[in-house]
Amino acid sequence: MIVAVVGGKGGVGKSTVALNLGAELDAVVVDADLGMADLPERTGPDLHDVLAGRADPVEAVDETGHVRLLPCGRTLAGARASDPTRLADALDAVAGEYGRAVVDCPAGLGSDAGAALLAADACVVVTTGSEVALADALRSRELARALEAGLSRVVVNRAEEVGRAAETFGAPAVAVPESNAVARATASGVPVRVSAPEATATERFAELAAGVQRSLSSA
């Protein structure tokens, strides 16, 4: 099972959602933002090495943190040497070995986001309530549609309520409120369940994960 977390606009919280969804689903989180990775760094081979054909994707999965992570390199040279056409095979290999993979996709509609969506069984679109973020999130949904990655859930991040997101996107929506608990957890690179198990955000991420699982099992 491969779930792509997409959003169009940068800075809406895709990485936070991917990390927490990965934790809830006990999945490997793959940081596929080749140019601007922001999930934690780990030692050892990373996705740049994998996409340059220099490392095995399963070997590159780091199991030392709270969430199993296939990290992404930070160098421009590594991003330049990466071949996005290898991403689908890498994701298939990770999902084959570990069962579940959650892909933190880059912002925008580039071929790296496209390659992840092409390999994905479903996607989660992340947006905030702002008009700009919503417009970009709709374009991500269009790309997901064109690549046949079904929209499982919409996350309205930093919001108390989902508003009209479910009608706008045509999929169930989950609101994740802005909170210090999420900010602290994200800064430490840990899922909010670890640092604040009682937080509202933890409940919402659990609800999101349950929804994603339901949509995939009924598909």
Binding site: D49, E59, L76, R80, G110, A115, L143, R145
Partner: protein, 272 residues
């Protein structure tokens, strides 16, 4: 009505596409590449000029306008077409169709289609320093570069993880790829990138050639992006073969000269 006239010029391995647009009334149009390769748009300060994406450009035409781009694909007719026309913003209320114009994502749902139709996420080569000081960071020290160019992780417990676990034969085939022409400092050179691109093209064509049943052949052709794309790919690979043979001859000659050149350093030191 918007008229489009196109012309192509082949310069080395690149096709230059010229598009001349003409309209009596102001119109916003989308011009899309039809050649079997990525669009290399004009760049301003290292990034694609306004209006360009991975598959074409949106431009407002009032009277005459011209746009042009490069692509590694061979010429074909027509090289580009108009896929959408609308009134420019401000010329009236935007309709749902106009919004659809913005939201439309044109991409073929295949691996080759994704790469061909969507923008390349990689930073331009000009943005990469000749040497890569960033690579020499502390995290790099945790990696062990194997003789075949692959990387593995040093285990904190001191026992290295074995990259070649049973059942990973497919991935092992990738070992050493890209290392053949690497610079002595391990940096990825344009030669590496070109060889990798050639290797991918050959692999794609091999997949098509290996198909023995109709469903396999259909899948393989779809993966490339259709029959036209396969024909174009075959032409490119034939050109690759010629160039590789020329490079092989030159490499052999250079290797011979490199192994026999022996300047009399002792005499030079005495003279210096």
């Amino acid at each position: 009505m918007v008229d489009l006239e196109t012309a192509t010029h082949r310069a080395g391995d690149v096709t230059l596409v010229e598009c001349r647009l003409e309209s009596d009334v102001p119109r916003r149009v989308r011009v899309v590449n039809r050649l079997a390769g990525p669009v290399w748009p004009p760049r301003r300060r290292g990034v694609p000029a306004a209006g360009w994406d991975g598959n074409g450009v949106r431009v407002t035409v009032e009277g005459r306008a011209g746009v042009g781009y490069a692509t590694p694909a061979p010429p074909a007719d027509p090289p580009a077409t108009i896929t959408a026309v609308e009134e420019p913003e401000g010329a009236g209320d935007r309709t749902d169709d106009a919004n659809a114009f913005d939201a439309a994502v044109e991409v073929t749902a295949t691996r080759a289609g994704v790469v061909r139709d969507l923008s390349d996420p990689r930073p331009p080569r000009d943005a990469i320093p000749g040497t890569h000081p960033g690579e020499a960071s502390s995290r790099q020290s945790a990696k062990v570069e194997l003789a075949d160019g692959r990387v593995r992780q040093s285990d904190p417990a001191g026992e290295e993880r074995q990259p070649d676990r049973p059942g990973r034969e497919a991935s092992r085939d990738h070992g050493g790829r890209g290392a053949a022409a690497s610079a002595p400092n391990g940096a990825v050179t344009p030669a590496d990138e070109w060889l990798s691109a050639v290797e991918r093209r050959i692999e794609l064509l091999e997949c098509v050639g290996a198909a023995t049943t109709l469903p396999d052949a259909t899948t393989a052709v779809d993966a490339v992006g259709g029959l036209e794309a396969v024909e174009s790919l075959a032409g490119t690979v034939a050109a690759d073969a010629d160039r590789l043979a020329r490079i092989a001859r030159r490499a052999e000659s250079l290797a011979g000269r490199a192994s026999t050149v022996e300047p009399d350093l002792e005499t030079l030191r005495q003279l210096a």
